[in-house]
C-alpha cells in the first residue's frame, strides 16, 4: 500500500490516504499525494517538506529526503506510545523488529529468508482455506485446540494446511495454528534484540486480533496496537519531515526542498 499523511507544524494530522501499490501504482505516489492534498484542502506548494519511506522511497520524485521505514516506524509508534521499547511491524512483504529509545531505533532485525512470518504468508493460506484474510482473526478466536503448522515455508505450510483440512481438522484450529506459526517466527526474530515492554505491534497484520493474541502468548506480555496500525510509517515520516523543517528554520536556513511538481516516477532503482 502507498500511504500519504500530511501534518501541520504542531504535528496535527491533516489527512491520511491509503492507496494500493501494484506494479503500476508504485510509480503513482503522486496520485495518492494528490488525493491527500484534496482531502486536506491544500495546494502542493504549501507543503514545506516531504519525507519518503519504505521500499518505494526511491520512486517518489517530489520527496525532499528519503528515510528508511525502520526509522520512520519507530518515530511514528513513539508519537502514539511514548513508552515503547520494542516495536514490531508485520507488513505484506516483511517483518521488522526494532528496539526503540526515545523514538529512535537503536537496534533492529528484519526477516531475511522468505515470506513466512509476513502478511503474505496469511494471504496465501487464506486463499487455500477459502476465507477472507480479514476474517481470520475472529475465526481463530473460536479455536479450542491449535493445530501445529510449520513456520518455515509458505509453500509447504499451504500444503500442510490442505492436508490437515482433509484429515477433518476444524478451520478455526488450523487458523489459530497459522497465527501461532507467524507469531513464533516473528517473536523469534525479536528475541535477538532482547525484548522489553512496552511492545507495540503495527502493520496490516496487526489488524488481526488472532495474531495479536498469539503474539501475547509468545511474548508473555501485553501487545499494544495503534488504532490504525497501517499508517505508523507514514506518520513517522511526516513527523520527521516536520522536525527536519523546523530545525532548519531554527537554524535560520530554509530546508532544501525539491521543486514542488507532482510527477510520476520515471525510474526504478
Amino acid at each position: 500500500m502507498t500511504k500519504v499523511l500530511l501534518t501541520d507544524v504542531d504535528g496535527k494530522v491533516l489527512s491520511v490516504v491509503k492507496g494500493p501499490t501494484g506494479p503500476e501504482h508504485r510509480r503513482l505516489a503522486n496520485e495518492v499525494m494528490q488525493r491527500a492534498l484534496e482531502q486536506a484542502n491544500l495546494q502542493l506548494d504549501l507543503v514545506s517538506y516531504v519525507v519518503a519511506t519504505g521500499y518505494g522511497r526511491l520512486n517518489v520524485p517530489f520527496a525532499d529526503r528519503r528515510i528508511t521505514e525502520l526509522t520512520c516506524h519507530a518515530r511514528g509508534v513513539y508519537s502514539l506510545f511514548p513508552h515503547v521499547k520494542t516495536a514490531i511491524d508485520i507488513g505484506g512483504q516483511d517483518a521488522k523488529c526494532m528496539k526503540v529509545s526515545h523514538g529512535r531505533v537503536v537496534n533492529f532485525a528484519m526477516n531475511d529468508k522468505c515470506a513466512a512470518g509476513t502478511g503474505r504468508f496469511l494471504e496465501v493460506i487464506a486463499v487455500a482455506l477459502g476465507v477472507k484474510v480479514e476474517d481470520m482473526g475472529d475465526i481463530s478466536l473460536r479455536s479450542r485446540k491449535k493445530v501445529h503448522v510449520s513456520n518455515l515455508c509458505t509453500v509447504f505450510a499451504r500444503q500442510e494446511v490442505v492436508a490437515r483440512l482433509s484429515e477433518g481438522e476444524k478451520l478455526e484450529d488450523i487458523v489459530a495454528g497459522l497465527h501461532d506459526a507467524v507469531a513464533s517466527r516473528v517473536v523469534g526474530l525479536a528475541r535477538t534484540l532482547r525484548i522489553e515492554p512496552d511492545v507495540v505491534l503495527t502493520g496490516g497484520v496487526a489488524k488481526n486480533n488472532g495474531i495479536v493474541r498469539a503474539m501475547q502468548e509468545h511474548l508473555r506480555c501485553e501487545v499494544l496496537v495503534p488504532e490504525d496500525p497501517l499508517i505508523t510509517g507514514a506518520l513517522g515520516a511526516a513527523i520527521l519531515a516536520k522536525d527536519l523543517w523546523q530545525e532548519s528554520v531554527a537554524r535560520g536556513e530554509r530546508a532544501p526542498t525539491e521543486l514542488r511538481r507532482l510527477k510520476k516516477a520515471t525510474f526504478f532503482t
Binding site: T68, L70, M110, D112, K113
Partner: protein, 389 residues
C-alpha cells in the same frame, strides 16, 4: 605538480577484467593455479613460477548450471563459484588448490574436481583450531602440497625458491598495510571501493606485478589532493565472509567511509607476515594458523582450562579488532555475511557482544550473493546509519 600516476585506474581495470593478465601469461607459457580460500599458501605456488589466481563467484552472473548439483538452499557463494567453473569462466586455470575452510567448500571441491577436471587438483586439510598440534598437522599438509606441486611442475621446491617467494609475499603484505594506513585520515585518502579493486587485482596478478601496482597506487594516493572520498559521518569497519563486488561496497559507502574491510576482499590475507624460519615451511604453517583471522577457525582464551572468563575468551578471539577500532577511529561495524554462512553466523553473537563491550554499534546483515537482490541490503544499511547518525 600534477600526479600522473595511474595505479588506481590500473587496479580498477584489472578488477574489471580480472582474468585478462592470467590468460595472457598462460598464452606466454606460464601456468595458472586457482585457489578459492585465504588458507592456501600462495608462496608455494609463486616459488615454483605458478601464477596464483584467487577464484571468486560473480554476483552479476545468475546461477544456472550449478543447480544441477547444488540446491538453492546451499551456500550461495559456493554455488556461484561452482557455477562460474561449470560455465568455463575460469577455463585458463591449469589447476586448483582448495582448502578445507568450511564444509561447503570441501564438498564443492569434490564436485569441482570431478565435474570440471583440471590437469592439477589438490585438496588440503586445514585444522579447525590453532593449538601447537594443529600447526604441526598443518605443516604436514603443506608437505603434501609440496609433493604434488613438485610432481605437477617437475621442479623441486627448494628452500631458496620458497624463501624468495615468501619475501615477495611479505612485501605485498607490508604494502597493503601501508595502503590501509591511508584510510586513517578523515576523510580517508582512499575509498573502500578502491581498496576492494586493488585487493582483488592483487589476487589476480603474479606477486611481483602486484607489488609494483601497489607501489604505484600508494604513490598516487599519498599525493592525492582531489578525487578522494568525501567525508561521511560514519567510519565503518566491515567484517565479512566475502565482500567481493563494488556494487555492495558502494551501498555501504553511500553513507559511510569504509576504512577497514576484515574480509577476503580486504585485510584478511595481509595481516601479520611469514617469519623466515630455518625451514621456511615451519614459518608458513605458523603464519597461516596464527595470523589469518577467519571465523572458520576456533580460538579460545586459554587452552585446557576448565573455567574461562567470557570476556577473556572474547579478547582472545577478537582483541585484534579493538586495536583496529582505535587506530582507524572506527565508530560503527557491519557484520556482512553471505546468506547461510554458518561458520561466520555462529561467530556473530559473540562478536556483537565484543563490539558492545568496546562501545562500537554494530549490525548483522545477510545478503544474497546476487546483484539483483541488493535492495534489502540497502534498506538495512541505510537504517543502520540512521540509528547512529
Amino acid at each position: 605538480m600534477p600526479n600522473d600516476s595511474r595505479g588506481l585506474a590500473k587496479a580498477k581495470q584489472v578488477y574489471q577484467e580480472r582474468s585478462r593478465r592470467a590468460r595472457q601469461l598462460r598464452a606466454e607459457g606460464s601456468r595458472v593455479i586457482g585457489y578459492p580460500c585465504v588458507y592456501v599458501p600462495v608462496e608455494m605456488l609463486s616459488a615454483l613460477g605458478l601464477v596464483p589466481y584467487r577464484t571468486y563467484g560473480d554476483i552479476r552472473e545468475p546461477v544456472t548450471e550449478a543447480d544441477r548439483a547444488l540446491p538453492t538452499s546451499f551456500c550461495p557463494f559456493m554455488r556461484s563459484c561452482f557455477d562460474c567453473a561449470l560455465k568455463a569462466k575460469d577455463d585458463f586455470l591449469d589447476g586448483m588448490v582448495v582448502a578445507h575452510s568450511c564444509d561447503p567448500q570441501e564438498k564443492t571441491a569434490r564436485l569441482w574436481e570431478s565435474y570440471v577436471g583440471y590437469p592439477y587438483f589438490h585438496f588440503m586439510d586445514v585444522p579447525g583450531t590453532v593449538r601447537p598440534e594443529a600447526v604441526e598437522y598443518f605443516g604436514g599438509q603443506l608437505s603434501d602440497l609440496k609433493a604434488t606441486l613438485e610432481a605437477f611442475t617437475g621442479q623441486e621446491l627448494t628452500v631458496e625458491r620458497l624463501r624468495s617467494a615468501i619475501q615477495f609475499h611479505n612485501e605485498q603484505r607490508a604494502l597493503v598495510k601501508e595502503l590501509y594506513e591511508l584510510t586513517k585520515p578523515a576523510p580517508p585518502l582512499v575509498s573502500g571501493t578502491e581498496m576492494l579493486q586493488v585487493v582483488k587485482a592483487l589476487m589476480s596478478l603474479p606477486v611481483a606485478e602486484g607489488n609494483d601496482l601497489l607501489k604505484e597506487v600508494i604513490g598516487e594516493v599519498q599525493g592525492r589532493t582531489t578525487g578522494g572520498p568525501e567525508l561521511k559521518p560514519v567510519r565503518l569497519l566491515v567484517w565479512s565472509s566475502t565482500l567481493d563486488d563494488v556494487a555492495i561496497m558502494e551501498i555501504l559507502e553511500s553513507g559511510a567511509n569504509v576504512v577497514m574491510d576484515e574480509g577476503c576482499g580486504g585485510m584478511r590475507a595481509y595481516r601479520g607476515e611469514v617469519k623466515l624460519t630455518d625451514e621456511p615451511m615451519d614459518g608458513l604453517a605458523r603464519h597461516y594458523m596464527d595470523d589469518i583471522t577467519c571465523a572458520r577457525t576456533f580460538r579460545q582464551g586459554a587452552d585446557g582450562e576448565t573455567t574461562k572468563e567470557y570476556s577473556q575468551d572474547l579478547e582472545k578471539r577478537f582483541g585484534y579488532l579493538k586495536d583496529v577500532v582505535e587506530e582507524w577511529s572506527i565508530n560503527a561495524a557491519i557484520l556482512l555475511l553471505v546468506r547461510y554462512c554458518d561458520p561466520f553466523a555462529f561467530e556473530v553473537p559473540s562478536l556483537r557482544d565484543y563490539f558492545d563491550a568496546v562501545g562500537i554499534p554494530s549490525i548483522y546483515i545477510e545478503y544474497d550473493y546476487a546483484e539483483g537482490a541488493l535492495a534489502p541490503l540497502r534498506t538495512r544499511v541505510e537504517a543502520f546509519f540512521e540509528t547512529i547518525g
